[in-house]
């Protein structure tokens, strides 16, 4: 038996096939093209940076979510973890007397390290509950969603933690070579995630566990540890996002991040990662997040009324995925 070459490299794809194969990239380009034609302000350096900066938080969350979803899990708690790490790290970075951490503002790096640790802690708890106690991820992280929000409110007494030190705010508002820091954070996170998922042993493990946990176990992989780790990663990235958010808005709000999980999951799924695990790419996630960001930006730029925005956004999300539908054949 001889097998023929796969899809003929290069040429020979019909237009329809191209749309299907690169569906989501195509949808993104289409959206950008349309907006460029409709609105002269869309394709300006400034607006492009805006879109990227606005995407940074959802993008970072969605990248963490990709790790979790690749193992067949889900992390509903990211929005709450955003708020919790925000107030925690901010309380070490506040310059106002409202800061109740002695010695605040601490050096920004300390505050950031604390934020990351808090995020990883939340992720770790979810991870243990999922991996060790076999509680479905949906329930475990729903519990964390509720608990982390409660802790946020308790820690902050329900009030914003204001007046953050300039060095801390730099991660949200600073820029290097004219490019805002959050964009570097997003791209750095993406590059690291892409490297881990495609080039490392741990990345291979993640795909195997998501693709067939039983086969992964039989092949000697530490399935539980891998399951645990993806939640830690998601928590750490939620922590990062929480700090960017606090740094951007200038104070850490305990009510921040509500419903962020939905946008993050949407970016992952739009980007072609299957909720059934084992299949997907973090580059797809980035494109998914960008698509959502461009959509929000474009509708605002065109001055579409907010109610219509919601209706239109609903249809656009579905339409984008339909373009990409060939990847999602179900049976």
């Amino acid at each position: 038996m001889e097998l023929k070459a796969k899809t003929p490299a290069g040429g020979g794809l019909s237009a329809g096939q191209i749309v299907q194969k690169y569906g989501i990239v195509f949808a993104l380009l289409l959206a950008c093209l349309t907006l460029t034609l409709i609105n002269e302000n869309f394709l300006t350096t400034r607006n492009v940076l805006n879109v990227l900066r606005q995407t940074s938080i959802n993008g970072v969350l969605a990248i963490g979510m990709t790790f979790v979803i690749l193992t067949r899990g889900i992390d509903l708690s990211v929005g709450s973890v955003v708020a919790l790490t925000g107030v925690f790290s901010a309380s070490f970075a506040t310059t106002s007397s409202a800061g109740f951490i002695p010695g605040a503002p601490w050096p920004a790096l300390v505050a950031i390290a604390i934020g990351l640790l808090v995020g990883m802690g939340c992720g770790g708890v979810s991870g243990v509950i999922v991996a060790r106690f076999r509680v479905p991820a949906f329930v475990a992280t729903l519990g964390m969603l509720s608990a982390a929000r409660g802790l946020t409110l308790l820690y902050s007494s329900g009030r914003p933690i204001p007046a953050l030190s300039d060095s801390f705010r730099w991660i949200g508002t600073g820029s290097v070579l004219g490019i805002p820091v959050p964009i570097f954070v997003l791209l750095g996170t993406f590059a690291a995630a892409h490297f881990v998922l495609t080039q490392t042993r741990f990345g291979r493990h993640i795909y195997a566990v998501g693709g067939n946990p039983h086969a992964a176990k039989v092949s000697g992989l530490p399935v539980n540890r891998i399951r645990f780790m993806v939640y830690v990663i998601s928590g750490a990235l939620a922590g990062l996002a929480g700090m960017i958010l606090a740094a951007r808005t200038g104070s850490a709000l305990p009510q921040a991040g509500i419903a962020y999980e939905l946008d993050a999951i949407a970016a992952v799924v739009i980007g072609g990662t299957s909720l059934a695990g084992g299949v997907g790419r973090v580059s797809g996630t980035l494109i998914g997040a960008l698509l959502i960001g461009v959509m929000n930006n474009g509708l605002d730029l065109m001055g579409v009324e907010s109610y219509y925005q919601q209706v239109i956004k609903g249809f656009l999300i579905v339409a984008a995925v339909m373009l990409d539908q060939s990847k999602n054949k179900q049976d």
């Binding site: 400034r46 805006n50 508002t173 805002p180 958010l245 951007r248 104070s251 921040a256 930006n297 009324e305």
Partner: protein
């Protein structure tokens, strides 16, 4: 032992304003002295949850209820149920569209909307373009503050509202919205009317992020949350203080008076606001005045937020 139980059902405790309100209620002298037992119920921004909490309070034999509904239209059924059980309900902060409400302590949102818009319009000299960042459309506070905004705008026919959109009281949403507007209308926006402080603060951050100076804009918000006080102090914006402390303690005084015979109001707010007389606790409405936050009073206000 058998202290009368009073419940405070507020629409949600996740944001600073209601937090100030709740703390004021818990710090009411009569509560501190143990004359009554107060429980604050968090309505989690859901009219139904609030109604269920009313049901719980009725079962538990509460003697009076202070009520901050999520919307003027959203609490009537709950008030009816309490009234049917003989429990008096006192509105605070947000009205309820029900004649069963025993009394109401709040501030007139139309007035604050007028005051903040007026401030913005004065600063831009009654000409140029403004944007309005609104609360969740249809909520009574949004409707009334907008009414006030428009009243002020009507006095400046040369001013054009070039964008008007909701940011759902959220700082992060307002920030994104403002970033996009600054792109869509480069150099055209002179005034920013935020229907609350959070959204005004978001707009300030967007302005800064765009490399512009907030002081070059006329920006105003409402509520007087702590961050806004700092921003006022820095000269970035104007804010109108809504005295949640007075709304809470005033309503609580009324509720306690309904429960304890011969009770005299214990909160200091009645002396603070001579314009709002106690009237033996018999009036139907108590109007807590708005206080514009200025360079003069901001430090004193900040001192109360420790």
């Amino acid at each position: 032992q058998d202290k009368p139980k009073i419940g405070a059902a507020v629409y949600g405790l996740n944001a600073e304003f209601m937090q100030i309100w709740a703390q004021a209620a818990e710090n009411h002298p009569a509560v501190k002295e143990g004359l009554v037992e107060l429980t604050v119920f968090d309505g989690r921004y859901d009219a139904l949850v609030q109604q269920e909490q009313f049901e719980t309070m009725i079962t538990q034999g509460y003697k009076a209820i202070v009520f901050v509904p999520i919307d003027i239209e959203a609490g009537a059924a709950a008030v009816d149920a309490a009234a049917a059980a003989g429990i008096p309900v006192f509105g605070s902060n947000t009205r309820v569209n029900s004649d069963k409400l025993t009394a109401y302590v709040g501030s007139d949102d139309v007035q604050s909307g007028y005051m903040e818009a007026k401030h913005v319009l004065d600063k831009i000299g009654c000409k140029g373009n403004v944007v309005i960042i609104e609360g969740p459309i249809g909520q009574s506070a949004q409707i009334q503050r907008l009414e006030g905004n428009q009243k002020a705008l009507a006095e400046c026919p040369d001013v054009k509202v070039i964008e008007q959109q909701t940011a759902n009281w959220s700082r992060a949403e307002a920030q994104t919205l403002m970033e996009n507007w600054l792109t869509a209308h480069p150099g055209e926006i002179a005034g920013i009317i935020g229907q609350n402080d959070e959204m005004a603060l978001g707009a300030i951050e967007a302005v800064k992020a765009a490399g512009l100076k907030p002081t070059d804009f006329a920006i105003a918000g409402i509520d007087g949350v702590t961050d806004a006080l700092h921003a006022v102090k820095a000269g970035d914006m104007a804010s109108i203080l809504q005295d949640g402390h007075a709304q809470a303690q005033g309503a609580l005084d009324l509720a306690i008076a309904a429960v304890l015979p011969d009770y005299k109001p214990m909160s200091e707010i009645w002396s603070q606001y001579p314009d709002m007389p106690w009237a033996d606790g018999k009036a139907k409405e108590y109007n807590v005045p708005w206080t514009p936050v200025t360079a003069d009073n901001v430090d004193a206000l900040l001192a109360t937020r420790q």
